[in-house]
């Protein structure tokens, strides 16, 4: 899809000097909705649930935290129930608990007399084999792009999410990938970000997550809303795996982070 968006931009750019301007749009103010972002990983200290609320479009990006929720995670196979405690307003974290590949987890959040639940299964881990940097020239500008290489297991469907930080600044792009075109192959992914140019000496941090298919689709939905590129399908709230009308998601995934200094 990116290729086509890119093509469209190139063509439009060539045909005419397209022009952008900030405008006022009179948008309705939707009443606040609960947003839950829950993550269970195979690494310690990253079992985190954030709870806050949405705000109207015209307001600053300050999202009211929701305190005092009762948050638990159940490991389905063992029946173990872990209480996730509030460490600071709206930020809930479990210590002494680590997720495992192959396990299903159920999140339960009770707040203001309402109960929200979700489940997610942590896939097996696929490791980054190596990192690299590719150099391309576009419109006279040299662009360095971080690449990662991994071997996709051929026996199962795999879904990935990648995160990129350059000198501590996180890319706002959503990088998700599935193996529908490359099952069982050695895969190279380029984490291209037009706004985040990597220069020699910069430190790039890459995280690879193996996510479940429902979460893959969730991120894809968010990405389609963000990267419209003239898409005619109406944007819509991505389908959440959380019940009871909350926004957000609950994802059990593996994590691997690697560092590279841009040559």
């Amino acid at each position: 899809m990116r290729l086509f968006t890119f093509l469209l931009i190139v063509i439009i750019g060539l045909l005419a000097a397209s022009c952008e301007k900030v405008i006022d749009v009179n948008l309705k103010n939707a009443s606040p909705v609960l947003v839950i972002e829950g993550v269970i990983t195979n690494r310690t200290d990253s079992q985190i649930v954030k709870i806050n609320r949405s705000v109207p479009f015209g307001e600053p990006n300050v999202f009211p935290e929701v305190s005092g929720a009762r948050v638990t995670v159940t490991e389905v196979a063992t029946g173990r129930i872990v209480t996730i405690r509030e460490r600071r307003p709206g930020y809930y974290m479990a210590r002494n608990f680590t997720g495992r590949s192959g396990s299903a987890y159920i999140l339960k959040v009770e707040v203001d007399g309402q109960t929200y639940t979700a489940s997610s299964t942590m896939p097996g881990q696929v490791n980054i084999d190596s990192l690299g940097v590719s150099v391309s020239n576009f419109l006279g500008e040299e662009q360095k792009t971080v690449q990662l290489l991994f071997s996709d297991p051929g026996k199962e469907r795999n879904y990935y999410r990648f995160l990129l930080k350059i000198n501590g600044v996180a890319s706002q792009n959503i990088y998700v990938y599935d193996d529908s075109f490359s099952n069982g192959r050695a895969v190279t992914r380029e984490l291209f970000d037009f706004d985040l140019n990597a220069n020699s000496g910069d430190k790039a941090e890459i995280e690879m997550q193996c996510i479940d298919p429902v979460i893959f689709r969730y991120w894809q939905g968010l990405d389609q809303n963000q990267n419209r590129g003239g898409a005619s399908t109406a944007p819509a709230n991505p389908v959440s795996n959380i019940s009871n009308g909350a926004l957000g998601y609950f994802s059990a995934h593996t994590r691997q982070t690697e560092l590279i200094v841009i040559p």
């Binding site: 045909l15 806050n52 479009f57 996180a170 075109f181 190279t188 709230n237």
Partner: protein, 782 residues
Amino acid sequence: MSPAKPSYFYTTLKQILILVMGVFSLNSIAQNRYSINGTIKDSVSGETLIGATIKLQEIARSGSASNTYGFYSVSAVSGEYTMSVSYTGYQTSIRKVILERNLTLDINLAPNALLKEVVITGKSSNAQISDPQMGVEKLNMESIKNVPVLFGEKDILKTIQLLPGIKSAGEGNSGFYVRGGSSDQNLILLDEANVYNASHLLGFFSTFNSDAIKDVSVYKGGMPSQYGGRLASVVDIRMNEGNRNRFTAEGGVGLIASRLKLEGPINKGRGSFMVSGRRTYADLFLKLSSDTTLKSSQLYFYDLNAKANYRINDKNIIYMSGYFGQDVLGLKGTFSLDWGNTTATVRWNHIFNEKIFSNTTLIYSDYNYAIENFDNRSDFKVTSIIRDWNLKQDYQYFASNRHTLRFGLNGNHHRIRPGSISSSSTSSINDREIEKRNGIELAAYISDEWKLQNFNLVYGLRLSSFSLVGPGRVFSYDKQGNVNNVKNYNAGRLIKSYAFLEPRISASYQFNSSRSLKLSYTRNTQNLHLLSNSTAALPTDLWVMSSNNIRPQIADQVAMGFYQNFRNDSYEISAELYYKGMQNQIEYRNAANLRGNENVESELLYGDGRAYGLELFIKKRLGDFNAWIGYTVSRTERRFDEISDGNYFPSKQDRTHDVSLVGIYKLSKRWTLSGTFVYNTGNAITFPSGKYTIDGRTMFYYTERNGYRMPDYHRLDLSATLEGKQGKRYQSNWTFGFYNAYNRHNAYTIDFRDNPDNPTQTQAVQTALFGIIPSVTWNFKF
């Protein structure tokens, strides 16, 4: 209907046809009637004229029109008559005929250079009043040559967007929406061949090179029963046949493209040919760029139209025509994307006798694309093709002056190969082939145009069927889109079939020679559906066929129209009111994946639609100043269980008001000025009503589908044509134009994002596509 049945079905149909022909012939047998038939042509070029009016002046309302091959037939009891043949833009031919046996009379009409009339439609003066057909617009290319267009490239698909009820799909786009239908619901025919992707360069140009086009008819409603397969409209485009009298060349040089057309007689006018080509050269400018990436990129299209015909004898004419067009787009060493249409049509006109005209057509049509990625570790090539083989047999039976019958059969085999992926061994992409699909459309139709005193009627019936046939692995899905059954079918095995009876009725009541009222009811079905999640006509949009999951789309349209001419037919006014109900419309699940997905049918949602509106049209068609004003007020809505709680929501084609003004003024012998102005209120669109944060990113919260409106759109285009000094054989002209003359920045998209200068705030950003664009074109002819 199973595939074994058609033979039985056709036998029955044949019996019905014989019966019907018998009934309609009765009156001609009872009296001593004779008929006159022949072909009507332009006396200079020898091109046949479509829709010329033939009248025997002694008989009230004896009007008949020449068909798409210029053939006509009128009949009367023996006697002496004054026969007049008229066609707008031509001198009316009047002659005495003594009718005491059947006559064949070919008529040449001289183009009328003396009459100061800029032709806007090819219809004769009051045809709009007397013709029972409603919801139709006929344009000949001569009439639109002065209408200003983007980049100075004459484009029939953009010009028809200035007519009421036909809306542009986007800025500078050749895609269009008719009466609330989506752009894939338009049946676009080039010499009867279905053109799947009628656009070049992502929609900024249509595939129709105006040099090669003779005549266009657009049906917005009341489609005659010989057409079928799409819900919203029929755009029937006919190519030029070529000059029968002498060899000529014409062409043009513009900012974007150049054109050349050659035509001439074959074997002293027994036949003729026409070849017309066009190529854009935007990429030649890229070569001038200092940037190496741009320098090595490709961005162009070309197309070629060719047609030839040959009159074997008085009863048989053979036509062959073809179109080949290709778009090439690429960045050297990075990727390439090529796509194109090919059509070929072979037709055989056979005149059985003075009353029965037959046309047999064999059509080949394909649309294909190839994407290539050259990146060495993820290289791949995707190819996709849609291919039709279509056989049609049409009869026109001029039974009497009261009845003209049309009937015919049609069989069309479709094959869609959605995508075949190949790659090198070092690539991270696997080779794969998404399964081909085969479908067969069969249709039989009959219609009668029945003329009474003041009441005229075209009524007919189309029986259509669609069958999806094997081989294939066919999936079924549950409500959530998960596979719940897989079944394998062998080659030729029937997977699923559908059959429909489609009534088509259009009637007019003529109060007097300048006022009429018309009513119509039409049912249309559609078995090929375009899945697209882009605004621009991306060449990679996916066509799918009706199947066990996708049901045929159905539209029922009723319309009523009022027509009035003033001042000796120099002004026309019309008002048409329509309501259309649609079934089995298609939307997509959230985050639908349409590319390389063998389960693409699981990504679809099905619902209903409705569209209604009023179209007003005023036209001044004679004199130095010609103009029209079109106004449409309309609504288009859809209802899906899974969207907006099952309530009706505005579809993306919905916009309330549309106004278009077109004016052409002949200032002097050499200068013609023209202008168009369009104004429309915004299309329905989905905007966020709130925002929230996910993983440190601002995300937007949507509460309703298409609950907002884009800003109003308006634009003025101007153009001026200067005719060069007329040489004996050589003519030339210059056309100067301004698209978007007052440089209005109309919103193409509105996006929402964090303010880059202040990340604690969000903002709405409007992107405009085209500012003012000047153009100049030089045309020549000799």
